[in-house]
């Protein structure tokens, strides 16, 4: 399978008369874009904004991030979700780089939503503080979940995915600045130079804990709660086969942008043929019942063994209950003789003294640690808030609270905030971006 990713680097974004990309400047006709978004009659209110690195902007509640992309051959960039089912990961896709579409609730947030700062101390907590962002701030008529802590955010998330494809439409007929090629020979048809290297699988555990449909990560539009682990080509992940869910405490979340750009996959690709033979992805999940966890670990270890993998990397999208899946899968792989590395974040409590994962095992001797969900963060007010900052305190965001005996409310009268890292949008970057680690003090 061969994926050619044609890149257009966005150096700035402006609103103007027509949707266009020229010399690094992305121009968007705001009204036309909003009219397109309002075609979904669930959208009751919508605004479009630009948030660049260094802008004095705070966003909350942020629900999703997507890299704008388009396929010149007309296929959907999210097959089985936005368009007809088709093979992802093969052919040509164009991408607007250094740029993302962010979806922010105009009013209502929830457990799975987060915060992004574009300036100051808070900027470093999320990748999106470093990107040129097109920000859709909108509300919907989904009143059934307005006051629910868990939200499907379906209308808003879909609006974001559609907007990302709509905007990237302006480069459809242009020549990319550069082309990245992702190509792996079939697993059993590789040259002897590659085959003599230790073979490696990347095991992904996206979030799928909700029994009710509409919240979980999707693969080609299919709810991942309803699957057992399977083999995927890494290109499928990089090319829109996976849609981020709407469930996890948000610093643990892998947004759709994170799947489209998954650094762990790119790092394994970069080593392919040099130090490793990158076999591909084993796509697992994170279901809630013990039997489902054990079944998934069994499938993963079996597939790794059947493929003859010498090594594996396991990464989990979450903490707490999913730690059982993460450790269980890691141990199953080690027991199958597969040398494994884990990637995760930790939850050590506000005093830093709690056990880092809910379960541990001595066999897990190689772990890359990306952050602490329970770290307390205090940030000053920002000039502009996109969305509704009160949501952080009011709506049960995983790192916010309405009141606390000692710390007071998360959102202060002057717009300054105190929160747990838990609510930093995709802040722990277990997908591979993280330049944080955990140290003992």
């Amino acid at each position: 399978m061969r994926l050619e990713l044609g890149n257009f680097h966005v150096r700035d974004i402006a609103f103007g008369d027509t949707l266009a990309f020229q010399d690094g400047l992305l121009t968007i006709n705001k009204e036309a874009a909003l009219a397109y978004i309002r075609e979904d009659d669930r959208i009751t209110e919508a605004g479009l904004y630009i948030a660049r690195p260094g802008d004095n902007i705070r966003m909350c509640p942020v629900k999703e991030a997507i890299e704008p992309r388009v396929r010149p051959d007309g296929r959907s960039i999210f097959p089985g979700y936005e368009g007809e089912l088709a093979q992802a990961g093969d052919g040509v896709t164009y991408a607007l780089k250094d740029c993302s579409v962010l979806v922010v609730g105009r009013h209502w947030g929830g457990f799975q939503d987060g915060l992004i700062d574009m300036n100051g101390e808070g900027q470093k907590y999320t990748l999106f503080g470093e990107l040129n962002n097109i920000v859709l701030v909108a509300d919907t008529n989904e009143v059934f979940e307005q006051r629910e802590q868990q939200k499907k955010n379906d209308a808003l998330r879909r609006a974001g995915h559609k907007l990302a494809e709509y905007i990237a439409g302006c480069v459809k007929d242009l020549e990319p600045e550069e082309t990245e090629v992702f190509e792996l020979e079939p697993m059993i048809k590789r040259t002897s130079d590659v085959e003599k290297l230790p073979s490696v699988v990347y095991v992904m555990q996206p979030q799928s804990q909700m029994e009710e449909m509409g919240y979980n990560t999707l693969v080609y539009g299919w709810d991942m709660n309803h699957m057992v682990p399977t083999i995927m080509h890494p290109n499928e992940v990089l090319d829109g086969a996976i849609i981020s869910g709407s469930f996890m405490p948000v610093s643990s979340k892998w947004s759709t942008y994170d799947y489209q750009n998954c650094p762990n996959i790119k790092a394994l690709y970069a080593e392919h043929g040099k130090t490793i033979n990158f076999l591909g992805v084993i796509m697992s999940n994170l279901n809630v019942a013990l039997e489902q966890k054990e079944r998934a670990a069994l499938f993963v270890a079996q597939m790794a063994k059947t493929l003859g993998a010498d090594g594996a990397v396991v990464a989990e999208e979450g903490y707490g209950n999913p730690d059982a899946d993460f450790i269980g899968c890691y141990v199953a792989l080690e027991d199958a003789g597969v040398k494994t590395v884990g990637v995760t974040n930790e939850c050590t409590g506000r005093d830093g003294q709690s056990q880092p994962l809910v379960t541990l095992d001595e066999k897990c001797d190689a772990i890359v640690s990306c952050g602490n969900v329970s770290e307390l963060i205090t940030l000053p007010p920002m000039d502009t808030v996109l969305g509704e900052l009160d949501a952080l305190a009011r709506d049960g965001l995983s790192g916010g609270w309405a009141d606390d005996e000692i710390l007071g409310p998360s959102v202060k009268a002057d717009g300054s905030i105190i929160m747990e890292n838990n609510a930093m949008f995709c802040g722990d970057e277990v997908c591979g971006w993280s330049v944080k680690t955990m140290k003992e003090f």
């Binding site: 970069a270 494994t340 952050g371 591979g432």
Partner: protein, 347 residues
């Protein structure tokens, strides 16, 4: 200039060797022994030196601590330093003991230094900064230099880095940090993976603490003849809590006679456990410590006999080391009474 006070033992206080180890605490104006070395780089004036014999503080701990705290009472002090204690076990424990007492009573930073073989490390590393020191006194200059560097950060309100960077024993506190060299997780993952695959040494970022697993005991052969005992970490005690068991992070336990009782009555027993809503357990302590059910089963002949006491402590926040020690203290009573099996009731 800020002010600091140093604690040393009889040897470093230049009183004498082992023969002077019973030396009662004294406070001297100015700098004695290692204080002179500290003074070279410390961003504070060492105004006093406290000297105390290792045996004295070891055998009269409460008195020694009280006397030293009294000596410090009217002294201005921004920092308290003890040692370095190297591998000297009694000295290390003394440094830890007095640092902990000063930290609790004065709310100022305390710093000491010990070798990793010093028993004081395990006892006190969670309570204070203990720098990793040499094993012998010839390392004095080096250890003092490392201590001074950390002391100055504390005195100047600078951020103290992680245990590895600063050279102190980890205090069991894990926090996120931004890497000085911003290597993304994906690259760290690949580096670790390739090393592990090639059998080269690698360093995990999440060291797994050594787990002390207890094998499940074989089943009781003949329950009808078995002598059974009841142990709980649910904090059930007589209402006046005669053994003063703590409500969290317990270090004490008690055993209470149930020979004649048909069960535990609310009002006579209660829970002092701070980790759950005590309402149901206070109303009926049997829900945590099922003496009532065991008495019924005993009458029915389901098992042989009941050990006349139940044992109780509090599990919440209690360290594994303390739990193990308390269990080791309980076990002889059970063995002496030929107990065959224990029902361990948590909450």
């Amino acid at each position: 200039m800020k002010k600091a006070i140093l604690y040393v033992n009889q040897f470093f206080g230049q009183i004498g060797g082992e023969d002077k180890a019973d030396f009662a605490p004294e406070i001297r104006d100015g700098q004695v022994g290692p204080a002179i070395e500290f003074a070279k780089g410390l961003d504070a004036e060492i105004t006093h030196t406290i000297i105390c014999g290792d045996n004295y503080i070891g055998s009269n701990t409460d008195e020694a601590v009280a006397a030293i705290l009294d000596m410090l009472k009217d002294k201005e002090m921004d920092l308290f330093i003890a040692g370095p204690a190297f591998q000297a076990g009694r000295y290390g424990v003394a440094c830890g003991t007095i640092c902990k007492a000063v930290k609790e009573s004065r709310d100022i930073p305390v710093v000491t230094s010990m070798n990793n073989e010093n028993p004081g490390v395990e006892m006190f590393k969670k309570d204070m900064y203990i720098l990793k020191g040499g094993n012998i006194a010839s390392r004095m200059r080096k250890d003092v230099k490392v201590m001074t560097a950390l002391c100055n950060k504390l005195l100047n309100g600078e951020e103290v880095g992680c245990a590895d960077d600063e050279g102190y024993f980890g205090r069991g506190i894990r926090r996120q940090v931004w890497l000085k060299e911003p290597v993304p997780a994906s690259q760290r993952m690949v580096d670790m993976l390739v090393k592990k695959l090639n059998g080269e040494p690698f360093e995990t970022e999440l060291p797994i603490p050594e787990l002390d697993r207890v094998e499940i005991a074989p089943a009781v052969k003949d329950l009808k003849k078995a002598r059974i005992a009841l142990v709980t970490t649910g904090g059930i005690v007589p209402v006046d809590n005669p053994d003063r068991i703590q409500s969290a992070s317990a270090t004490r336990w008690g055993r209470y006679n149930i020979e004649t009782a048909d069960g535990l009555k609310g009002g006579e027993y209660k829970t002092i456990h701070a980790g759950f809503d005590p309402g149901a357990a206070d109303a009926d302590p049997n829900v945590i410590t099922p003496v009532d059910a065991l008495k019924v089963l005993l009458k029915e002949g389901v098992y042989g006999s009941l050990h006349p006491y139940f044992y109780s402590t509090v599990g919440t926040g209690t360290t594994q080391a303390e739990a193990q020690r308390m269990a080791n203290e309980m076990v002889p009573y059970l063995q002496e009474d030929n107990v065959d099996a224990v029902i361990m009731v948590s909450t």
